[in-house]
């Protein structure tokens, strides 16, 4: 009997331990007015760590009673899973400078994010800084649960040496239209200058869509999201054209169907790559050039849209000093700190008139000018709690029909659109 009781006690203790480990959160009303020390997380790449450290130092120097503790986001399968787990456990920091827009809907549904629109100057501050492009970061009800922070507009990088080796003009490559792009890729492969024309990851992860289909669809449509007003848009003429273009690349052996171990562009295995401004520093020893995303009939650089690949800032409900956190958020997205971000990372702050605001930077770094201009014309993933599920449904259809040529790409897009309409209608 005593043994049984002891066992029960041990069992209950274990369950209680597991439950209390998930505690936290505090009083939301008090937290909203709270001031004091806060913790923030930022990305773990070298450049963003440098930016984060100087930002924290600058703030702490002037705010002895509201100190920031900055740390790199803890390692996990992905940042989004780490953040999701932290929300559930109630130990998320006040601010995370690496919040992917595709995950924001889920974090909002979890009750993990503060509605910035509920703050007196929340929406006005965001819209004043980012302009019309901010609208893409609203939830379906028109509220901001994320602060649009920075984008990595996707363009086409090409290796000038490979183009020259294939007999193509490295300074003015013919890459404006799909036909030109296909012809250039064909020449590169035929001449043996590279294994493939382009080699984006052909794997099944939902986010890979953001580097093959999405930038091309945004460019072809002049800035359409793949889901608008709860309905899939991509099963249309432009979507079919993009799918046919990529299907041709795979079918003709101009794009790789296998995942490459390493960086195919850096290793000279692929002549082109769809990348953001981060690539400027990464491909330092490659003689590269950059062009906008091709469109069916060709579009000038000034009119071409692309995918944003943005990372934003979330203010998390677990934060006990949310008033301080909001002030820090505004400080870290001020003109001065955005300039530091540009300088230290080369990533584009999501603010209006970027090039006019930082003319000295773009004069000194002409390689970033195209990205700076492109940042004004970027498209984001659709908002809502089911974004990842929608992107996965699309990726599965794309992978099957376009990458591996199993079935008609148009029918696959139609089917994916119907499935995504259903997913988008879910709460």
């Amino acid at each position: 009997m005593q043994t049984r009781r002891a066992l029960s006690a041990v069992g209950i203790a274990a369950v209680m331990l597991a439950l209390t480990a998930c505690g936290g959160g505090g009083n939301q009303a008090e937290n909203a007015e709270g001031r004091g020390d806060i913790t923030i997380w930022y990305s773990n790449n070298e450049q963003e760590v440098a930016w984060g450290k100087q930002m924290v130092e600058a703030w702490n120097a002037d705010h002895p009673d509201e100190q920031i503790t900055g740390q790199e986001i803890p390692a996990g399968e992905s940042s989004e899973e780490t953040i999701g787990a932290a929300i559930t456990a109630g130990n998320a920091p006040c601010l995370i400078y690496n919040t992917a827009p595709s995950a924001v809907g889920q974090f909002e549904k979890q009750g993990g994010l503060v509605d910035l629109s509920s703050l007196s100057d929340g929406a006005s501050y965001i819209e004043e800084r980012s302009g019309d492009i901010a609208e893409q970061y609203q939830n379906p009800d028109g509220n901001y649960f994320q602060m649009p922070w920075k984008s990595n507009p996707v363009v086409i990088f090409y290796n000038k040496d490979i183009f020259a080796a294939a007999g193509l003009d490295p300074e003015a490559p013919a890459l404006e239209t799909y036909d030109e792009f296909l012809a250039s890729a064909q020449t590169i492969v035929d001449e043996g200058a590279a294994t493939y024309g382009i080699w984006p990851a052909p794997t099944s992860e939902f986010f890979q869509t953001q580097f093959d289909f999405y930038p091309f669809y945004a460019a072809a449509t002049g800035g359409s999201q793949i889901v608008e007003d709860g309905e899939a848009t991509f099963a249309d003429t432009e979507g079919y054209a993009v799918a046919d273009f990529w299907a041709s690349l795979y079918e003709e052996g101009l794009a790789g169907q296998e995942q490459y171990q390493g960086d195919a562009f850096a290793d000279g295995q692929a002549a082109m790559s769809s990348v953001g401004p981060w690539a400027v520093s990464v491909y330092d020893d490659i003689n590269w050039g950059a062009v906008p995303i091709p469109t069916p009939d060709g579009t000038t650089a000034e009119e071409t849209w692309t995918f944003s690949d943005a990372k934003n800032i979330g203010l998390y409900t677990a934060c006990e000093n949310q008033a301080t956190a909001w002030d820090v958020l505004k400080f870290s997205t001020s003109e001065e700190q955005d300039g530091q971000l540009l300088e230290l990372t080369g990533q584009m702050p999501l603010r209006t008139d970027l090039q006019a605001t930082y003319p000295d930077y773009f004069d000194a770094n002409p390689a970033y000018t195209a990205f700076g201009d492109q940042a004004a014309r970027t498209v984001e993933v659709p908002p809502g709690p089911n974004t990842v599920e929608m992107l996965q449904a699309f990726r599965d259809a794309w992978s099957k029909s376009v990458i591996f040529g199993d079935g008609d790409p148009h029918t696959a897009l139609d089917d994916a659109a119907a499935e995504i309409d259903t997913i988008a209608a879910q709460p």
């Binding site: 066992l7 597991a18 505690g23 549904k109 099957k400």
Partner: protein, 305 residues
């Protein structure tokens, strides 16, 4: 136990079992707590989740989690990707489990007879098991890609598309990889079991005229039957939990979901897509199926033991 003959010895046995019981409980308590906290509680909780409309929420967030009966199971089992993943893992188990049992037993028997370089061989087989999957997967990607060593050796016999992007070959390649990687562990199990097979049995068999092959089937195989049951169970349970290899080796269960496993789908639904209720339902079905297979294995391979 011998019969007590004195007063002092008759009183002792009454207290000993109780004292031993308490001591035993004390020693087993840490593991008991571990099992309850890390295994029993999450398992029970996931069954509860599978029957409710559930998503992970922040502490203090007001969310309703109504009982939904079998809805999550219906959602899971009417999803073609989920059904396919169970088929995929079935293919995996059909290749991996028999291959693991046969290869590890044969190699363990051979290793048991090796006199020179015994330690070297044992370590050589064990190294893949203790090496991180991420590192080994990289090597296999180089081996099995279109222009990899395997295809170069096979020449015109190489499959097109290549192994890991071929719907027919992706899962068998993964099964082969997992078999190779885990072999060292199972060889060790068999090596331990082989030490318990009496030498006299081999001598008798030899006296009766049995050769090496005959001795293997009539002495070794029955002699290590308990180890075989263990290898069957462990490799089946491990195979049921297949995740890392389709996640890394075939880039998320490709091509076209041909190598997606139920656990990979659980990861996608539960963690990436915010549907832990559907993921839990898949998990419950998986546990039941693995238990059924384990029971069948125990029934047919375990004999009367």
């Amino acid at each position: 136990m011998s019969t007590a003959t004195t007063a002092s010895t008759t009183t002792r046995p009454r207290h000993r079992p109780r004292r031993r019981g308490v001591l035993g409980l004390l020693f087993s308590a840490p593991y008991l707590v571990f099992v309850l906290a890390v295994f029993a509680y999450p398992l029970g909780y996931s069954v509860w989740i599978a029957f409710h409309d559930f998503f992970f929420a922040a502490p203090g967030a007001v969310v309703e989690r109504p009982f939904v009966g079998l809805d999550n199971f219906v959602t899971a089992l009417t999803d073609p990707a989920v059904i396919r993943s169970f088929g995929n893992v079935g293919i995996f188990l059909l290749i991996n489990v028999p291959l693991t049992v046969v290869l590890s037993l044969v190699l363990a028997t051979a290793l048991n007879k090796v006199v020179r370089f015994r330690t070297f061989y044992r370590v050589a087989y064990y190294v893949p098991y203790v090496t991180a999957s991420v590192a080994v997967v990289g090597v296999w990607l180089f081996l099995f890609n279109g222009s990899g060593l395997v295809n170069q050796l096979l020449g015109p016999l190489a499959p097109d598309p290549s192994w890991l992007i071929n719907e027919a070959w992706a899962m068998p390649t993964i099964a082969l990889f997992v078999t190779w990687k885990g072999l060292g562990f199972y060889i060790l199990l068999y090596l331990a079991a082989l030490q318990g097979v009496p030498k006299e049995l081999y001598e008798s068999a030899s006296t009766d005229g049995a050769g090496a092959v005959r001795s293997f089937f009539t002495v070794t195989v029955p002699g290590v039957r308990p180890a075989t049951v263990l290898v069957l169970l462990v490799s089946t349970v491990t195979g049921g939990n297949l995740f890392t290899e389709p996640y890394l080796l075939t880039g998320g269960g490709g091509p076209n979901g041909a190598s997606a496993s139920p656990v990979l789908i659980m990861y996608q639904r539960g963690l990436q897509q915010g549907q832990p209720d559907v993921a839990a339902a898949i998990g419950v079905v998986l546990v039941i199926l693995v238990l059924i297979i384990a029971l069948l294995q125990n029934r047919f391979a375990g004999g009367r033991d």
